[in-house]
Symmetry: C2
Subunit: 353 residues, 2 copies
């Protein structure tokens, strides 16, 4: 795996310093520093400053937003040098434990790992993720790992933007592997898919078991299926599931990446299967770097987020308007009941502004 | 199949008249009639008037748009009583022949069938569909069938709107079965999925054969896979493919409809397999009518198209602005090359207006 994940080779790195060096400054509120101070801290791998910088990014205060934009721009030249891995799976599939174990495997291999999440408030009730770091104690205490819960509150668009900006900051802080996790029951997995290089779907053995409630289409988006909890009495069942899914994946439409998605088994509690998963990620990265898909996808993703951000802005400005807010529920009711058609209703609402 | 597709039972129908009765009026340009004349013609199952009414809907002239909206509203109370079936499959899969054969089977069973298409200009080059009616000669000459090529030109949003409105008009004209076909290589299959009750994916035997270029995620959206061209030397292979896919479909996340998607074989040239396909559609409709999913999905779709229409309007107004048109390509280039980040670029473009 070394060659692929070490994308930083040849790029000069800032000196290693004690990541807790800035603990004495910790008490300062987010947003109170200069952009240059944040940048310096980030480049010096000071994860306390990094955490504060992410808080700045998450702030909704207009002055913080301006500073946050400057900071992201300043970090941009130092970003991009990581492998971004999306991890999804419904509650109960063992996502936290998997991230702990797989994450430890990655830091043990000499990498620096940042774990982020997309978990819009609307989806939180469906299965909290990264709700608190105590669920990932080993990783939380690993000096080569950085765990950041999902930005709280707000729409998917807002949460996704914050997470994508956090990725850039983490990369500027020298993290060469990024996990972005999501619960996969709503819209957020598409967002995660649109900001990662590799998409991993965690499942359980037994048809449907690990998939209750997961959104249709996610399986076909995945680059790797991992049948988790392949331990104890479950090993046989997991291996059967693996070979069933392996067969099914060959029936899927070929991916534009040229990669044929695969299925593997793992036990997060026993730590088995991690090396193979990493090998799979590495093989994917090697393939797509070679055929140009890696860079092309990154460029497309950057354009996607620009447009997504514009569209979100235009759309929320409309729906946040008090006149629309007042008229919308009634209009939706009429549309639902077939009293008016969708396009006429749209045109009437648009006329209100 | 009778019970499910006959959703019109009990609903009084306008009298059967000669569908070509208005041929004498044919020469009048679209848009020249009163709304009441269109409505009367449509309710009288005059397919010549129906065709002209759809031309009105497709018109981009503002006065036609106003009249079209009125007409759609007038047809709305008479719409909804059909089974809407989305049919997708890449070029070469035998879509036209399938629609001919399956369509004939449906009209022979006493139903009236309208065949529409979504084929935005951007996707047309990838495989023209319904490009001309001569590819469906039998159906084109069937008095119980109405074939309408995809509205030409324009964005997916525009084409989708026109097709959805055409569905309502066809239903008001007493068509109880609607096919909406799409080529499935771009975004349009999502649009078709969002305006149909049942989604059928046509495929060929041989892993990947019928799927080259099809969008990922479509298979998981489908309610039925049909392995086409199961004839001659191909029968064995098609049956194998069927059972492979059948197995794979059980591994998919369960659909919120409660329906377990299935795979079937068919030969459009020999006419085999059509009855089973119709049985499958019927079973789906019966199930979802019983569990409430049918009506719920229709209501959700109506809301979806209202919002989609609003969003499209807001977004195109932005991108059609000359200042944005001028600035966009340069900005996209900068974003692609990593010279600026997506969100800053978005915010700069938004500031231009």
């Amino acid at each position: 795996m070394d060659s692929a994940l070490k994308v930083n080779q040849g790029i000069p790195k800032p000196p290693e310093i004690n990541p807790r060096a800035s603990d004495i400054l910790k008490k300062k509120p987010a947003g109170s520093r200069e952009v240059s101070t944040y940048l310096e801290g980030i480049r010096n791998k000071d994860i306390s400053i990094l955490a504060q910088a992410i808080t700045l990014i998450e702030s909704t205060r207009e002055e913080d937003r301006e500073k946050a934009r400057e900071l992201v721009s300043a970090c941009l030249p130092f970003s991009g040098d990581s492998i971004r891995i999306g991890i999804t799976g419904v509650p109960g599939v063992g996502k936290s434990t998997f991230i702990e174990t797989f994450g430890k495997h990655i830091t043990d291999s000499g990498h620096r790992l940042a774990v982020l999440a997309i978990d819009p408030s609307s989806e939180r009730s469906k299965g909290s993720i990264l709700g608190d770091k105590t669920r990932m104690e080993t990783l939380a205490n690993d000096p080569h790992a950085f765990i950041r819960p999902s930005p709280s509150g707000g729409s998917l668009g807002g949460v996704a933007r914050k997470t994508r900006e956090a990725v850039l900051l983490c990369e500027a802080a020298g993290f060469d592997t990024i996990f972005i996790e999501t619960v996969g029951v709503g819209q957020s997995e598409t967002a995660v898919h649109s900001m990662t290089d590799f998409f991993l779907l965690l499942m359980l053995a037994g048809a449907g078991d690990g998939l209750q409630g997961i959104k249709r289409g996610i399986m076909e988006m995945s680059d790797l299926l991992v049948i988790n909890k392949a331990d104890g009495n479950n090993v046989e069942k997991a291996l059967q599931a693996k070979s069933l899914y392996q067969g099914a994946l060959h029936l899927f439409p070929p991916s534009p990446s040229g990669w044929i998605p695969t299925a593997l088994t793992a036990s997060s509690t026993e730590g088995t299967g991690m090396e193979k998963i990493l090998e799979s990620v590495t093989a994917y990265i090697n393939l797509t770097r070679k055929n140009g898909y890696f860079e092309e996808k990154r460029a497309q993703q950057a354009i996607f987020w620009m447009r997504e951000s514009i569209n979100n802005h235009l759309i929320s400005r409309f729906y946040d308007n008090p006149r629309i807010k007042k008229a919308l529920p009634k209009m939706e009711q009429k549309v639902k009941e077939g009293q008016t058609d969708s396009f006429k209703a749209a045109s009437e609402l648009l006329k209100l502004l």
